[in-house]
């Protein structure tokens, strides 16, 4: 956990509203685990005031990659940054996905919707290195919403795509694609990140199938470090349920602990 004010953007790629930044930050990259996030300062002026939480797309000794979509004024300013620009990032933060040490031959499904694919690339590579047989399910409304396909191909992570309009891959929602795949061959582990309705639907599917699953929750955050108590979600523990900070105890939670509300 570092405030890295000396981080620097090495390269920028973009596809429509989607952006991939490669950022030099040994301090953050060296520590990061799949599912963790950083808080990015988008502006030094008081508007927008707050940092933006972005999950880590990949990490290594040199730094990190961030994949995001323009979703408001903050990410719009961020998208205007260029290779060579300095960037102020705080992280790595939160508790990431569970990657068991040995996964020989275990089948893992990674289900990502839209920008929710961001942490699953990092996770997929780690799971594969631990011996898991990984399949990535990547869904979006149309072909433009699933721009990262080539990265999974290069990393030799088997990829199945879905689009709501059928413009690429399976026609329908990624949760339907998941249902079809689980019908063909059961999975041992499941990891999910995407919009709330998609995760809620996935939670129902995997509960019915009895597969252990982890979900990465998304929320607007005030601080990202557990100080403001703004980013809570209803989470079960031994004694009942309560509002739990996504930034500190999450963003990743086991499916059986998450209480899905409207």
């Amino acid at each position: 956990m570092t405030i890295d004010r000396n981080a620097r953007i090495l390269s920028v790629e973009s596809w429509g509203d989607y952006y991939l930044f490669t950022i030099e930050s040994p301090a953050v990259g060296g520590e990061a685990r799949p599912g963790q996030f950083v808080m990015v300062k988008v502006s030094s002026s008081p508007f927008p005031l707050l940092r933006r939480p972005l999950s880590i797309h990949s990490a290594g000794p040199v730094g990190i990659e961030l994949f995001f979509k323009i979703a408001g004024p903050g990410t719009e300013i961020l998208a205007g940054k260029k290779a060579g620009d300095p960037i102020d990032i705080l992280g790595p933060l939160g508790k990431g996905f569970t990657v068991p040490a040995s996964l020989d031959g275990k089948k893992a499904f990674l289900v990502g919707g839209g920008r929710g694919i961001a942490p699953l690339y990092f996770l997929g590579r780690e799971l594969k290195a631990a011996g898991a047989e990984v399949t990535v399910l990547y869904g979006g409304r149309c072909q433009r919403d699933i721009p990262l396909r080539h990265k999974f191909e290069v990393a030799q992570l088997p990829l199945l795509c879905s689009t709501d309009d059928g413009s690429f891959g399976f026609e329908g929602m990624v949760t339907e694609l998941l249902g079809r795949e689980l019908g063909r061959s059961p999975a041992d582990l499941l990891y999910v990140c995407g919009p709330d309705p998609m995760m809620k639907a996935t939670a129902q599917t995997v509960r019915a199938a009895g597969i252990p699953a982890e979900f990465s929750l998304e929320s607007m955050m005030g601080c990202g470090i557990g100080a403001c108590w703004g980013c809570v979600h209803r989470i079960r523990d031994g004694s009942g349920d309560g509002w739990v900070k996504i930034c500190e105890e999450g963003p990743v939670f086991p499916g059986d602990r998450i209480v899905w509300t409207d």
Partner: protein, 304 residues
């Protein structure tokens, strides 16, 4: 070297910058980022006697140069605080102030009586001004009479100094400040957040589940400076100013308006080390302006 110490009468701060309640967790959350011993003080998140669940999300909405929150004072309660947090704060070389909450006057007294039996607390900040726990922001600090009655009762039991934190959601804040002073408060801190609202025009629903929240951040700073100036010119007890302080220059505005110390709030969310940076910026300004002791600039605002 500028002398940054500030004597409030009932306690001496190593510098005039404290971390504000509700923006600094229980302090420990910031250990990875900032030397807590470098702070003038830290005011921990508001404590009720029992653990408290807080409000339904969404709890936050960002607005121009500001943030509206309706957390609802979710917290661990005094017992968990005393067992798990206080032992780790006790050894810090900084003033630990506990923000005290209550659903009624009896609960404020119960919290103070419990904490009075614990070591390692410099003072209490009486949170009579949170807008997010009762309907439409109702709280004792909206009126002089309940403020007077509560401060008087707490002062009659407390073995520690009491700072009364005021609400800006009033017509005449100096009147409430005077009521707290007459009731014996040792200091006054202001301002808590401004009661606020934001609406999603697509869904036509309030952006916060609680409908209303409290606005903080640079958006409120000129309002807060005005209120600090009004209060400082009417009371004799020390005033601790806050409201959207992001830089040393912002903090100096409050000191010159009459605050003997300041609290840094929302800035902690953006930069966890903001309070320490602000302190060094104050020191830098003092050096550049030949001010040997920071206390010499308190209340030095000149005629327009």
């Amino acid at each position: 070297m500028t002398d940054l110490t500030m004597d409030l009468g009932f306690m001496t701060l190593k510098n005039p910058v404290l971390a504000a309640s509700g923006t600094f967790g229980y302090g420990l959350e910031f250990e990875p980022y900032v030397g807590l011993g470098q702070l003038g003080g830290l005011v921990v998140k508001g404590l009720y006697f029992n653990p408290r669940e807080g409000n339904r999300p969404p709890r936050l909405v960002e607005t121009p140069s500001g943030l509206i929150n309706a957390i609802g004072l979710q917290g661990v309660g005094v017992k968990a605080f005393a067992e798990k947090v206080l032992p780790r704060l006790r050894d810090l070389d900084t003033a630990v102030v506990v923000n005290v909450c209550g659903d009624d006057d009896d609960e404020y007294v119960a919290v103070v009586e419990f904490l009075d039996r614990q070591d390692g607390i410099a003072a209490y900040e009486l949170n009579i001004s949170c807008p997010n726990v009762k309907k439409e922001g109702l709280c004792p600090a909206l009126f002089a009479e309940p403020t007077f009655a509560l401060v008087k009762r707490v002062k009659s039991v407390s073995r520690r100094p009491v700072i009364t934190k005021l609400s800006p959601n009033v017509t005449d804040i100096a009147e409430v400040a005077q009521a707290a002073e007459e009731a014996g408060t040792d200091a006054i801190s202001l301002v808590n957040t401004f009661l606020a609202m934001a609406i999603d025009i697509e869904t036509r629903r309030p952006r916060l589940a609680n409908i209303f929240g409290g606005l903080s951040g640079p958006a409120i700073r000129p309002l807060a400076v005005r209120m600090v100036y009004q209060v400082a010119s009417r009371v004799k007890v020390p005033v601790i100013g806050m409201g959207g302080i992001m830089t040393g220059a912002d903090a100096l505005e409050f000191l010159i308006a009459g605050a003997s110390a300041v609290q840094v709030g929302t800035a902690n969310f953006v930069d966890p080390d903001a309070a320490v940076r602000i302190t060094s910026e104050i020191a830098g300004w003092c050096q550049a302006h030949g001010v040997a002791r920071v206390r010499d600039i308190v209340g030095t605002v000149r005629a327009a």
